[in-house]
Symmetry: C2
Subunit: 199 residues, 2 copies
Amino acid sequence: MSSAQPDTRLRILKASLELLEAGQGQGVRMADVAKRAGVSRQAVYLHFESRAELLIQTTLYLDDIAGSQERLIPSREATTGVARLDAFIEAWTAYLPIIYPSARALLAMRETDEDAAHAWDQRMRDMREGCEAAVTALQRDGQLNPAHDPQEATDLLWMLLSVRNWEQLTRISGWSQEAYAAKIRSSAHQLLVMPKASK
Amino acid sequence: MSSAQPDTRLRILKASLELLEAGQGQGVRMADVAKRAGVSRQAVYLHFESRAELLIQTTLYLDDIAGSQERLIPSREATTGVARLDAFIEAWTAYLPIIYPSARALLAMRETDEDAAHAWDQRMRDMREGCEAAVTALQRDGQLNPAHDPQEATDLLWMLLSVRNWEQLTRISGWSQEAYAAKIRSSAHQLLVMPKASK
DNA sequence: AGTGTCAATTGACACGGCGACAAGTGGTGA
DNA sequence: TCACCACTTGTCGCCGTGTCAATTGACACT
């Protein structure tokens, strides 16, 4: 936090992120990132040991500037199980389009690179914890659909909220982000919330 | 159907399929396929113009020997909408583990190769037609959950049955194939079939 | 025998992208 | 003045895909 060039590492991360967003996570090479950061290709390797590492750090950087943590506050503060579920779904589905480009790149890398695989899996495990917390809150309220035990319910919710499903519904089936969010929420309710006996 | 060497093209396809299965769709190179087929690397290019083309043809070959068409007969013959839905889900979920290795390889290729992307998308469009037929049959019977219009219901079912979801639930969440099939079927019912007013 | 054809082989090569290495260069502070 | 630091320049190796040209060996026709 001192040099005229505001921290090369940060410039590289920014460049990486911008390119990922521009290409929707596709076709971003080390040389492209370097060029955009106004730095030599080798300088990138001075800061990141490999392409996998750069992608991992880029997603962490994005989490940081996009406030991944703050987004979860309403969910944690929800009082009822259903409110917690809804708040979590709301936060995650709104976050999905933001992380999609870098998630896609990391997912592609995951196929061949062990570090990338590990980083992605960790990320998804963290996200699963949010699912689990929501399911637990539902159960505490006696609102969990008895068709599923908590483990299975968590996995189903986790699946429902996956990046790949967002990709399929919005990019292939052509759903708007709003339609996606609404339908996923109502589907989660149908699957997980105890059907009302009567009213 | 005559030479001592039973058709080189076929030997290559078999080799490709075996390697894909052995590696769960990962790390299969042209040279590996050639070696396993007992043929030079160049011979592979004599029969398939590119790696993408080889993968595409391998999945078609697999469809052929695994009877992808026959599997759909029970679904087409079902009388009620719910029976049709169940038969389709049963056929597809049982087919998924079979095609997974080649599907995975093709999905990876899809990211970078236009031909592979087109072939995969076509495959998935075909599968979607099965979903659509089941939803239409449900609707005809007045059994479609009014929470969804037929389009949306089809897309939801399509999403539910995706290769990626099978991969996540069985390979990551660790569900058995049986648990997967049962849960997906019951989830499809919860989502798509009209809730009984009473009984 | 002689000729043509066809499938396949051999070996070499170009290319793109990642990653490593070595020898500079230029600015800063002790 | 010297040393250090971040960075540059240029070069190189590796890998996997895809191409090309020359050759071989089997068969078929005449």
